[in-house]
């Protein structure tokens, strides 16, 4: 079998350097060293507080970077760049509320939640709620809600991490060999041994490369988190935070230089129209002598019909097999470039592309973008609401833009995984300095990412159908063009670092909930420290392995669930926690009804969406607003309405948490 000469190279097989493998191995070794050092700390301090909260002693750098790295999930370096590439400058508006995210997510609750947690000795968010209202039911309910939401997210993050690793390693020879072996084993095990959990949602055996990456990534994260606990997570987050900012700092000047300046990139985008999907027949004009593969990412052109016309350009988006003795391969999925300026540039004498030595025999045009393809929307890449393939109102109508201001800044404050970090800093001076650090950190990450991937639209045309590859492909392109291809290995570690730091945090939040809130506080309060220690190791390991198992063949509707749970947590937790911390009149019913109100309204928007729009993920937008805003408003109203209707909280609790404590004699 042959692979066509215009095959797209593996992202890190550049110059046969296997840079990805070297980077990954070094990175993993560093993480394991950190875990070992953290485990030594565990031997010296109160176990639970150290394992799940780092003994409340995080200093400025550790606190700032763990907060930032946890916040920057895999999406920041894969999904976000893909969105910028697909929708253009409007993503600056989509992410704009990150200008106040650090001060909101750390400043709104930080000092107070840290103080209240110290008062009661709480080490988890459900712990705080339970202690604040002396309500076992509230503690259990919040634990179950949190575990429900986070477990699904954990499965998705495992999947994301594995996909990123697989994307990076594609083309690296040792990986390809082992992936093929694993693939054969999976195929045999699934078909002959009856191991049906190795079949994906469509009934086919799971891809060997994906499974290999999942096991490597998953076991590494589970191991260092289980063994090292909170400090391992925090210190690896610090390392990952540095890797991320390094990636952006290197890519920004290279992108600007290679695109000919930001002005040039913006002017190119202003002339662009979105590409059109098509299926084509590729015709070599002569019979092939052996079976082969036409790889995804191949460029093919159809010459112009008239002398002054322009050729039609296509980029294949899926691989296609062809047999010996044929001269054509049909049904090839592709994207057709429709922008005149792009066609001129890509077919000109300075074109960076290599075209297949073949023509296009037949073209079946797909649908153009629902917004952005029409003449009146020309320039959609440099204006709001931005082009959209499916939505005729564009990518970011104003109502949705308003929702995103809530989504990042306000709902970010309501995520329990961030709240836990707020319980871990050493003192309020640390908090103040960390807010300044994260403010600057986010500013030098997110806005520059918009600029880098606006440039990517010009430098890497036709990649709309491969969003996961844009970040690593851009890293390779920029470093290769600058003659420093070896740097790509370090740059592509950024998305990998981001997803790793999110997974480890989720893992610890879930296991702490199980050990502390379910086992210790409800089943066995007087369990010995030794028992708690082994329970903690066991739970972290077990939760990790369950999520890993779930990620082998994630349910088809997983992505739908992720969209739902991502904002659902904030709708449940934000206002009940705010009331618990800041409102002396609040009682346990404030929190219970507030949580159920937020949960119910948010769920209702998705269920109505299922009826009206035919899809659970395509939620109903009441007044054009995202379900998270509706959920937050419902939760706030529930809190405000139910509180005056229910009894006042016990006097001793109000005195304990809101009044100056008498001096200890």
């Amino acid at each position: 079998m042959t692979i066509d000469s215009a095959a797209m190279p593996g992202i890190l097989a550049v110059g046969q350097s296997n840079a990805a493998l070297a980077t990954f191995i070094l990175y993993t070794l560093g993480v394991f060293v950190i875990a070992a050092l953290s485990n030594r700390l565990l031997q010296k301090k109160a176990f639970l507080s150290e394992y799940f909260l780092g003994s409340r002693g995080l200093g400025m750098w550790a606190f700032a970077l763990t907060f930032a790295a946890t916040s920057a999930s895999g999406g920041s370096f894969t999904g976000f760049p893909a969105k910028i590439y697909t929708h253009g400058w409007v993503l600056a508006l989509w992410i704009a509320s990150y200008m106040v995210v650090p001060v909101c997510t750390m400043g709104l609750l930080g000092k107070r939640i840290n103080q209240v947690a110290r008062m009661s000795g709480a080490i988890t968010v459900p712990d705080i709620l339970r202690d604040r209202f002396e309500s076992r039911f509230l503690g259990l309910m919040s634990t179950l809600l949190m575990v429900f939401f986070l477990v699904f997210n954990l499965v998705a993050q495992f999947k994301a991490g594995s996909l990123i690793l697989e994307t990076l390693l594609t083309g690296v020879e040792p990986f390809q060999t082992h992936a093929a072996r694993v693939g054969d084993w999976v195929s045999n095990a699934a078909k002959t041994d009856g191991w049906t959990f190795l079949l994906d949602a469509t009934g086919n055996p799971v891809d060997g490369g994906y499974l290999l990456c999942l096991m490597t990534f998953g076991i590494a994260v589970i191991f260092y988190t289980t063994y090292g606990g909170f400090h391992a997570v925090v210190w690896t987050d610090v390392m990952q935070g540095v890797v991320m900012v390094f990636g952006v700092a290197v890519m920004l000047p290279l992108a600007l230089m290679q695109v000919g300046g930001l002005e040039n990139a913006t002017q190119e985008l202003a002339q662009m129209v979105p590409p059109r999907p098509a299926t084509i027949c590729v015709d070599w004009g002569a019979q092939k002598t052996e079976d082969g593969v036409l790889p995804s990412g191949s460029w093919v052109q159809q010459p112009p019909a008239t002398a002054d016309g322009q050729p039609r350009l296509f980029r294949t988006t899926k691989s296609a097999l062809y047999a010996a003795g044929t001269s054509q391969v049909c049904g090839v999925e592709a994207l057709e470039i429709l922008s005149d300026n792009e066609i001129t540039r890509l077919t000109g004498p300075e074109s960076p592309l290599t075209f297949l030595d073949a023509g296009v025999a037949e073209i079946n045009e797909g649908d153009t973008y629902a917004y952005g393809s029409e003449e009146e929307h020309k320039g959609a890449y440099v204006t709001a609401p931005g082009p959209s393939r499916t939505d005729s109102t564009g990518f970011l109508p104003l109502g949705v833009a308003i929702s995103f201001f809530f989504m990042w800044a306000i709902s970010g404050s309501g995520q329990p995984q961030y709240m836990v970090r707020l319980m871990a800093f050493k003192d309020s001076q640390t908090l103040r300095r960390a807010i300044i650090t994260v403010t600057m950190y986010f500013s030098i990450i997110y806005f520059p990412l918009v600029i880098i991937f606006v440039c990517a639209r010009v430098l890497l045309p036709g990649m709309e159908n491969e969003p996961d590859r844009i970040m690593p492909q851009m890293a390779v392109l920029l470093t290769e063009n600058a003659g420093v291809g070896w740097l790509a290995g370090l740059l592509v570690a950024a998305p990998f670092a981001a997803v790793m730091s999110t997974v480890d945090s989720f893992l610890l939040v879930i296991s702490s909930s199980v050990v502390r809130d379910i086992y210790q506080r409800n089943i066995s309060p007087d369990a010995s420290e030794r028992t708690i220690k082994w329970m903690s190791y066991f739970c972290t390991l077990a939760v990790g392995l369950i999520a890993l198992f779930g990620a082998i063949s994630p349910p088809k509707f997983l992505q739908d669930i992720i969209v739902y749970v991502g904002s659902g947590l904030a709708a449940c937790f934000l206002f009940p926690v705010v009331a618990a911390l800041y409102w002396p009149r609040a009682n346990k019913w404030t929190c219970i009804v507030g949580m159920l109100g937020g949960f119910g309204a948010h769920l209702a928007m998705h269920l109505i969406g299922m009826q009206v729009n035919g899809s659970f993920v395509n939620a109903y937008r009441l007044f054009g607003l995202d379900p998270v805003v509706v959920g937050l408003v419902a939760s706030l109203l529930s809190v405000l309405i139910i509180t005056p209707l229910t009894p006042k909280p016990p006097e001793h609790l109000v005195r304990k948490y809101f009044y100056r404590q008498p001096a200890q004699s």
Binding site: W89, A96, M99, A270, G379
Partner: protein, 113 residues
């Protein structure tokens, strides 16, 4: 015997936190109004001849980059000059679990009685 004060003072840390939280919500509202009103007025428009500043569309510059810069300055100023350094107290590790154990033993005592 110490005299119980029926009207004790609010904890100053609680009061500081609440006041600071209100100001932070104000910063968020101001950032939202500036960004969304500016972008709504100039960003949702025909883009073929969009004016640029420093290479970015002008609506991005005035509606996002500039407020982002101002928000950064305000956040840093808040941290340096407004948010107070408060004593957050000593962590009572295990206090809540000790309370659970006490309640459990009290329950057993009641049951036995």
């Amino acid at each position: 015997m110490p005299v119980m004060n029926d009207q004790p003072d609010y904890d100053p840390v609680f009061l500081h936190c609440r006041r600071e939280a209100i100001v932070i919500v104000g910063v968020w509202v101001a950032a939202m109004i500036w960004t969304l009103s500016s972008c709504a007025a100039t960003g949702y428009a025909d883009g073929q001849d969009v004016p640029t500043i420093f290479g970015m569309p002008s609506w991005v510059c005035w509606g996002i980059a500039l407020p982002w810069l101002v928000a950064d300055v305000v956040a840093i100023a808040l941290c340096l000059f407004y948010i107070r350094d408060d004593d957050l107290g000593v962590a009572h590790e295990g206090a809540d679990v000790a309370e659970d154990i006490r309640h459990r033993h009290e329950g057993e005592g009641d049951g036995n009685a």
